[in-house]
């Protein structure tokens, strides 16, 4: 992927993931996260009032970052990454991770609006900047 190959309005390939409880367990383990709302259904329902355990916000962010770093390739670089947790997700739901290029800047920088969506619901909006190599210098 090169800087010259992309333009404002381009969409990056969408990554679709249905997170299950095994993945949530491993992500909590890998991030040393003991928060019960991610594994204790009774706590999530009876104490916090949710329908089920919650997919970790940082896992959604990590999946979104994966969509970006897969797209830019080994010569590209994630420069800035910003997301907001707007709505919750439960395991077993199809989540879409993607983005749209909003502009290009000097230094090989490409700005994007990024998202995690469930259907038409935006669960996690954000912005990102990636650096892409230029053809003539590589």
């Amino acid at each position: 992927m090169y800087f010259e190959d992309v333009a404002a309005g381009d969409k990056i390939p969408v990554l679709t993931v249905s997170v299950d409880e095994t993945q949530m367990f491993f992500f909590s383990a890998a991030t040393y996260n003991g928060h019960r709302i991610h594994y204790d259904k009774q706590w999530a329902r009876d104490v916090e009032g949710y329908d089920d355990v919650l997919v970790q916000g940082p896992l959604q962010a990590a999946l979104l970052s994966r969509a970006l770093t897969d797209w830019v390739g080994g010569h590209g670089r994630l420069v800035a990454f910003s997301v907001q947790n707007r709505a919750i997700a439960h395991p077993g739901q199809d989540l879409d991770f993607g983005g749209v290029i909003t502009g290009k800047r000097d230094g090989g920088l490409v700005d994007l609006d990024i998202f995690c969506r469930r259907g038409d619901d935006v669960l996690m909006p954000g912005t990102a900047t990636v650096a892409l190599p230029k053809r003539d210098t590589s």
Binding site: A30, I37, E48, A61, R66, T69, G74, F81, S82
Partner: protein
């Protein structure tokens, strides 16, 4: 009569350093994290590939850096909801005990490598009470800097948390 969700002890922490944490960046740990994300990018796993792409070795995934500095939590010190408050300066918000991550905004300057010693310094940027669709909540924002053993700035992050009344 004020009925703020923000207790005075927490409010007094605005602008102060609430946590300094150090940790070693360890490739097996970031690879376990990447595997849990289904992220098998060869930059995190394959040294030859990483060298072919301008790095001296495999690199830590940018979003993993925030976990490299996590310490050890004694089970008896956890909050009732199982979370550890250590990295956020143990801010409690007794009137708003239901907590969830708000968002994160990070600028990445340099990659971290295996066995880098990273230091995070976290400051409370703001604590504000807001009114949302599902009622009142507290929005806490922290700023963090991550530096390696050479004092090079690896990343600057702004992180937020939402705390709601029970």
């Amino acid at each position: 009569m004020t009925d703020s969700l923000v207790d005075a002890e927490s409010a007094a922490k605005i602008g102060t350093v609430v946590a300094v944490a150090t940790g070693e960046v360890y490739r097996r740990d970031w690879q376990r994290w990447a595997a849990a994300v289904g992220d098998h990018n060869p930059l995190w796993f394959d040294a030859d590939y990483a060298r072919e792409h301008g790095y001296r070795d495999i690199i830590c995934p940018p979003l993993y850096l925030q976990y490299a500095i996590l310490g050890v939590a004694a089970l008896g010190d956890l909050r009732p909801d199982g979370s550890s408050g250590a990295v956020t300066g143990s801010m409690a918000f007794p009137k708003a005990p239901r907590r969830m991550a708000g968002g994160e905004s990070t600028t990445f300057h340099l990659p971290a490598y295996h066995r880098d010693e990273v230091e995070m310094v976290r400051t409370v940027d703001s604590i504000v009470e807001k009114e949302g669709r599902s009622g009142r909540f507290v929005l806490v924002t922290w700023r963090s800097e991550y530096r390696n053993q050479h004092r090079e700035l690896l990343a600057e992050a702004s992180t937020s948390m939402i705390a709601r009344p029970a």
